[in-house]
Symmetry: C2
Subunit: 411 residues, 2 copies
């Protein structure tokens, strides 16, 4: 079927999630397709933050650690995220950044795997994953990061591998690993698996416990709509919690932080993976983002995300044929995330031209135009409009203006 | 001179900083003496956060990384904190938590000191400092945390010591190290010095470069009034920046984070000590707290803090004699911070009774009543009132009620 604007309008009218768009404060006249990089602002978040600031901090002051349960927030939010990623509530914690959490879990995993010193990953993984693994390798004796292309990962798992660290949905191509198969393959060879869910949580179905995953981390500011630099999360399967030790043994992970003893004793369960004082303002914002997911039919929501991606690909192929675009993302919805990347020789200025016309995606080096389809607030007409603008810009060559070639600090 | 309420009123009337109290949103009818644990809310912070949320995040969305200079915020705030702690602007960075920053700098310091593997500190240092050092010792080969009492620290620095890690102002006793002397002693033996400024920054004069300090960390949510769980800061003297390597080599510390290369290359200067994506909401709040310090006469402000502490001690000794209190903090203003701790056998219920009557200090295990005097918003009459209540509660024995003996999660 050739997609038309009318068909997209019909789909929006039939979309059971259409009303959720009104829960977000989207800039009028713009089409925001970058929720995979920074999720949009839920209306409720501004009010929640104002209350957290004025009531809890301003009036409650230090008492809010108990009375507003600030102290319990990392575990409370973890329990909520657990429902979105197929974990038990006591297996997930909100803390620190994705990078810091990766470091904690990688060091803990390598140290627990006696005789195994290799962290196995793929080249082109999200940079911070590789960088953090390199930092771990520079810290632990004889530890090594080894990368092999994604289609050879399973074959490369041998008795030297302590932990396989993979990003479930690739940040650029959107390719999604088969979590069950790779987890099983890693464990069959005695390795642990660590999944980075940064582009998965809130975007695609994830069931860590069905896959028997060992470890995971993920991001709060993308599909979970937690705000810029929101706290991240980590998952440690219950069976590993008593054994693994975080190298970042800060006071909030202590068994009794307010006894102020000199000797570190890790807390029970997931709590030992806390480090410093939790960032309460960021946590308050993140909780509003997470809560939006808890009351919806998540499998149906994620299916809508895939339908948006498929419609985008179909429309691009139909309307932008011969305009220099290549598809970096698979057409198979079962093995991709909720974003689509297109290759173009002038991807940077083309994206700037799109943004200037109110269609906001992003550029990923060296040559990708990336578009995120966040089913909570993206409509089918958004998809139509984005492809319409992309066609106009490419067909007219209007992207080739000096302003659009200027590179910014953050791309 | 015996202090009277009239004398305290006279001092408030003559206080050039008295008007600054109006910059804070203090709960009416309460006397807040816990700004050393969680600083009060500046009025400007609520408005700033609302703008950051609604305008920068809500409307600007992903563009705010460039347009609102979110990407430059860690260095911008670092440059401001630098003025408060005697550093150059390019030597300080806002990032992560104090605990995480301690880990970064301790690992970097030990790794840079070939042949030296000891982290030297004092027993009873703030717990997270010792816990993090224990985590470093569990990560790096042959690394060891050694603690000796504070009066023997200098003698204990030998050729095995890689780094001396001390808290400038002790979290409980308020005792302040002589930064110049200890720094010189450490360096004379080839050790690096790392100062934890959590109870110093915004409380007492600090001049890291005058002391020729090597490394420092500090907290954003105490005297800097950055809000609960505010981001922390770190200092690396310029001469060390090219050599030290953070083990937490996340993408924000990369020389070119948006080139998305597979190999970590540390950024120039202080930036290499960034790790993950900066927490923008926490940073926005912290910036308002810091800005309040930049326009005032800081030496005079810190002198007021000392005058408040001295008045508190004098009044306690005058009015609460024979009521079971002991002084944990020195009477010598030159070698203490801006808080005072008193020992009492029933410190916990006594503090709960004080809080119930609107005088908010805190308890520190095992037996300390702790009172912070934050010269931006504490008045001399606050001091009078606190001692007045303390006297009433102790003299009447009204602290000995069942409710006041109940222990909370956070103490």
């Amino acid at each position: 079927m050739t997609l038309t604007l009318e068909e997209m309008q019909r789909r929006d009218a039939a979309d059971p999630f259409a009303a959720l768009r009104d829960a977000f404060d989207l800039p009028p006249g713009e089409t925001y397709l970058d929720g995979n990089s920074l999720g949009a602002l839920p209306h409720a978040t501004a009010a929640r933050l104002a209350a957290t600031v004025r009531e809890e901090w301003g009036k409650g002051l230090i008492r809010s650690w108990n009375k507003a349960d600030w102290i319990g927030a990392p575990a409370r939010l973890g329990g909520k995220i657990a429902r979105i990623i197929g974990a038990a509530p006591h297996e997930v914690l909100v803390a620190d950044s994705t990078s810091v959490n990766l470091y904690k879990l990688l060091v803990a995993a390598v140290q627990a795997q006696s005789g195994r010193r290799v962290i196995l990953s793929e080249p082109g993984n999200f940079p911070t994953d590789l960088y953090v693994a390199q930092g771990v390798a520079a810290t632990l004796p004889d530890c090594e990061l080894r990368t092999v292309p994604r289609d050879r990962i399973i074959d490369a798992i041998d008795e030297s591998v302590a932990v396989v660290m993979l990003t479930h949905v690739h940040y650029q191509s959107g390719a999604r690993f088969d979590m069950d198969t790779v987890t099983r393959a890693a464990q069959a060879k005695g390795a642990l698996i660590l999944w980075d869910l940064s582009h998965s949580a809130g975007a695609v179905p994830v069931d860590l416990n069905a896959a028997n995953a060992d470890l995971a981390v993920g991001c709060g500011y993308k599909y979970l709509n937690g705000g810029p630099g929101a706290p991240a999360f980590l998952f440690v399967a219950e069976r590993h919690q008593a054994v693994l030790r975080s190298p970042l043994s800060g006071w909030m992970g202590h068994a009794a932080p307010f006894e102020f003893s000199d000797e570190y004793a890790p807390g029970d369960g997931i709590r030992r993976f806390l480090c410093g004082t939790p960032p309460i303002l960021g946590i308050a914002a993140l909780e509003e983002g997470i809560d939006l997911f808890l009351s919806v039919d998540r499998p149906a929501l994620f299916a809508k995300g895939q339908a948006l991606c498929s419609a985008f690909i179909d429309l691009v192929e139909d309307r932008c044929a011969g305009l220099g675009l290549g598809l970096l993302t698979t057409r198979d919805a079962a093995v991709r995330g909720s974003h689509v990347s297109l290759r173009h020789a002038n991807a940077w200025p083309v994206m700037q031209a799109l943004i200037a016309r109110g269609v906001i995606g992003d550029f990923r080096a060296p040559d990708a135009l990336r578009f995120g389809f966040t089913p909570l607030y993206t409509s089918y007409c958004d998809v139509w409009h984005a492809v319409d603008m992309l066609h106009d810009i490419l067909a007219s060559g209007s992207w080739d203006q000096p302003d659009f070639h200027v590179r910014a600090a953050v791309t």
